[in-house]
């Protein structure tokens, strides 16, 4: 079991090195005119040289990569090309915003999804059909359109919730929550339907399994078959799916943050991409991968607890 976890951690480490490396060289290839785009067309040659020198852009690409890597290991992601601030100072306050959004979405699609899944697995046929129909639609509605519709209905029309923007919880916890409701729903929606479907399918599989047949025939109650055996056996596969959905939601957060103008990592990522601000993007990709790694480890631990076969191995 520990060996398994170790192997997975090693894989995560590979991810942590490979992705920033790819992004670095991708960006480096297109970053010849950074000085020009930051300083403007009127900048003189000497201004540009000075700019390049301060940021180390006069060095060859591979040298820049290794000096970046050396700093990154110590949590120093270099200076932003556009603002010359340390990248970690730019990203730190934004991390909290992104985490509020992503963890919120994770909670919503896990809890609501599993609830719907259980209801449709155990309820009557009509409930099952409705959940089926809703999930076909739910999985097809793209999150950016859903976001716009949510804004149209709840912000513009009903004026219940703010359309865009973010309030720090230390300023006003109530407004903070209100500013997160719509983004979290938009981000979680596709995940809810996927979790519901997986929960339902796994529970039905368990209810129809040979062991359920044996247990039922030997006197186990229907309640226990559904709420003890089926639910317990659905847990591990559902948790695995949660991991996949989470990675998807992380990507989705970039778009959702831009729609709702949340000052998180995602909106910074887009802005920095348009400005070719390599160090900031590098920093964000490292943050994202670290989040993925942490979630993967948590899921591995959960699976170890949930699956007796893994636990014993």
């Amino acid at each position: 079991m520990l060996k398994n976890l170790g192997l997975r951690l090693l894989g995560s480490l590979v991810l942590l090195i490979v992705v920033p490396t790819i992004t670095f060289f991708l960006q480096g290839a297109g970053s010849n005119n950074i000085a020009r785009s930051v300083l403007g067309l009127t900048a003189t040659k000497s201004q540009i040289d000075a700019f390049n020198h301060t940021l180390g852009l006069d060095q060859p690409l591979w040298q820049r990569y290794f000096s970046w890597l050396g700093g990154a290991v110590h949590g120093d992601f270099g200076l932003s090309y556009t603002t010359q601030q340390p990248v970690q100072d730019i990203l730190a306050p934004r991390l909290a915003v992104s985490l509020s959004l992503i963890v919120g979405a994770l909670l919503v699609f896990t809890i609501v999804g599993m609830l719907l899944g259980v209801i449709s697995a155990t309820g009557n046929k009509i409930v099952g059909r409705v959940v089926d129909a809703v999930s076909t639609v739910g999985i097809a509605v793209p999150n950016f359109w859903l976001a716009v519709i949510l804004i149209a209905v709840f912000a513009v029309n009903l004026n219940l919730l703010p359309a865009t923007g973010y309030v720090d919880p230390s300023d006003d916890p109530g407004l903070w929550l209100a500013s997160l409701v719509l983004p979290v729903i938009a981000l979680a929606f596709a995940g809810i339907t996927a979790v519901a479907k997986q929960t339902r399918d796994q529970m039905l599989l368990s209810i129809a399994s040979p062991y359920a047949r044996s247990l039922r025939a030997n006197g186990a109650s229907e309640f226990s078959l559904v709420y003890k055996h089926a639910l317990r056996n659905a847990a591990a596969p559902v948790v695995t799916v949660l991991g996949v959905i989470f990675v998807g939601a992380l990507s989705g957060s970039v778009i959702v943050e831009n729609i709702f103008v949340l000052p998180g990592l995602g909106s910074q990522a887009l802005q920095s991409t348009l400005q070719h601000d390599v160090p900031v993007i590098q920093g964000i990709s490292v943050y994202f991968i670290i989040i993925v790694v942490i979630v993967n480890v948590l899921i591995d631990i959960a699976n170890t607890i949930l699956n007796p076969k893994v636990r014993a191995a």
Binding site: T23, G30, W145, I151, V254, I259
Partner: protein, 665 residues
Amino acid sequence: MTAIDTPAVPGGPSTDLPAAESGGRPPSRFRALREYLRRPLGVIAGAFLLVVIVATALARVISPYDPLKQDLFHSLALPSATHLLGTDKLGRDVLSRLLWGGQVSLLGLVEALAVAFVIGITLGLVAGYVGRVIDNVISRLTEVVMAIPGIVILLMVYSATNNNQHIGMIVLGVLSAPTLIRVTRGAAQAVREETYVAASRVTGMGRILIMIRHVLPNIWGPIIVNTAVLAAVILGIQGGLNYINLGVNPPNPSWGGMVSEAQQTLSQQPWLIIPSGLLITLVIMSFMLVADALRDTSASNRSRAGSAKAAAQAVSADGDDVPAADEVLLRVRDTSVSFSGLEVVSRVGFDVRPGEALGIVGESGCGKTVTASAILGSLDASAVTSGHVIFEGQELVNAPRKVRAGIRGSGIAYISQDPMVALDPSFSVASQLGELVGRHDHLRGAHRRERVIDLLTQVGLPDPADVARRFPHQLSGGMAQRVSIACALAGRPRLLVADEPTTALDVTIQGEILGLLRRLQQDTGMSIVIITHDLGVVADICDRVVVMYAGQVIEAADAEELFADPSHPYTRALLASNPIVAEAGTKLLSIPGTVPNPADWPHGCRFADRCPLRLDACTEGPIRLELLPAPPTHPDTLDHAARCIRAEELETTNQLAAKKTKEAA
């Protein structure tokens, strides 16, 4: 699956079995098409996609306006005859922009899909068919790619290539390939061991040729289904990218970009968010529905045998009068079971007396297990049961749930064929067995535990405390079957139904389990109904035997009598084909042909096709199950019945044969 915004796919690739699972060749394309056309949702979705694709391709010809032409006097107009879908804030025609924008979206979709398809199939085939190290490398690589939040890479690519949609979509294709790699790999692994693939390998055909000629054609089903799903996922991601102006350069139209433009004028003209967003949603949904329909089509191609010809069968009208005794624990009478109009068990009848072991014997497909399920009340909800199953005087056919629930485990208990799947893998032995003990004896805590250990001891497990702690995967087959038996004993049942209880076990264990059942029967006085195709098991444990063929009882007798005096040609054939009970020195025979499908049951004798003693009269009408006169050799034998017009003849020849053997000795 890539990682952008649309996560797990309904049904998921992992649940798709390859179409060629049954080992057959793929069904003809026309068959598949006909099957597909039977699914209205799939047809509507497919037709919608076709319309969208054609309309988009013809944008140059059919679009009513130039998509970039502004008309500030008619901005933000609602739909009208001149502008069918209205105009945007610059007065541009929405319909025209949708048509032109569709070109960007669909071209990008084709690019991404093509890349994912080529990579997915190539790597998947190699990983699945060649296996070993290559498989390992590809699988690890797939895992890593799946764990990357794809948008990080995509943002870089767009930034580095100055917003180039084509390169972006190609990268998206690479990031999406893992789904198809996994599906192809799984499917290829499944067909790798099929006979026709192995045969080509033996003939020395090269690997690549085998993959292209024999593996690929048989795994198209799941690949195409998942490609359709992937198309939906890619469209959603692409829309999101276009929404944040990646991959398109305004004012050029794109579907995602139009949602973003509409958002800017949301408070003035909410209508504008409808056409573009709804169109994307409908196109994505159509791809999903097409995938669903394709999945159903390939699923029904796999399981079409039997169900296709669900013609109503004429029920034989004889009143199977199986003789009865006074003291009966379980009485089965005229019990028929049908699934969607197709009868699979026809008017079966027999009795089980207290303390008796009854064997139900026959080949696969004779209705033994369905009969057992009818007794247990564990038939699928779609099954229709008629006749009587009377347990301790109580009618169980269509009995209220409560009556059934009161009998489960305490009246009638059950052990299944494969012990390895008969226990819940997620709970320890103590937990599952304890649950049943709690149900039946209302014990808790230490008392419950004590009873659990008692039961495990009772089924002959040497270290019950250790077994109680274990999980099912830590048990051997024999141990698992003993635990299953302990589960069945928890309610102290009067009747135990055992469905092929030894078939899945090693030969050495089989004897032990049968011995255990015999001992338990003596100790507890319970009755046993044992379903088996193995006459050796019957000889070992049963007092009475019911032989079933094609859904009917064709012979019933005391075990000893049946072996001495088989009065139905099928029983004779069964005996002659069994190495344990066949007479020494005679040749082992196999029965030519197979049991007919329920849809093909003949009106006359159902065994006639395979019977060496067939007469013309056999096929003229239904044959009755008739009581035979007690033979002089066993004058005290009761209740020997057979469904054969030549039964008495057979009995006579048996007696002659027996006489001969005696004389020879």
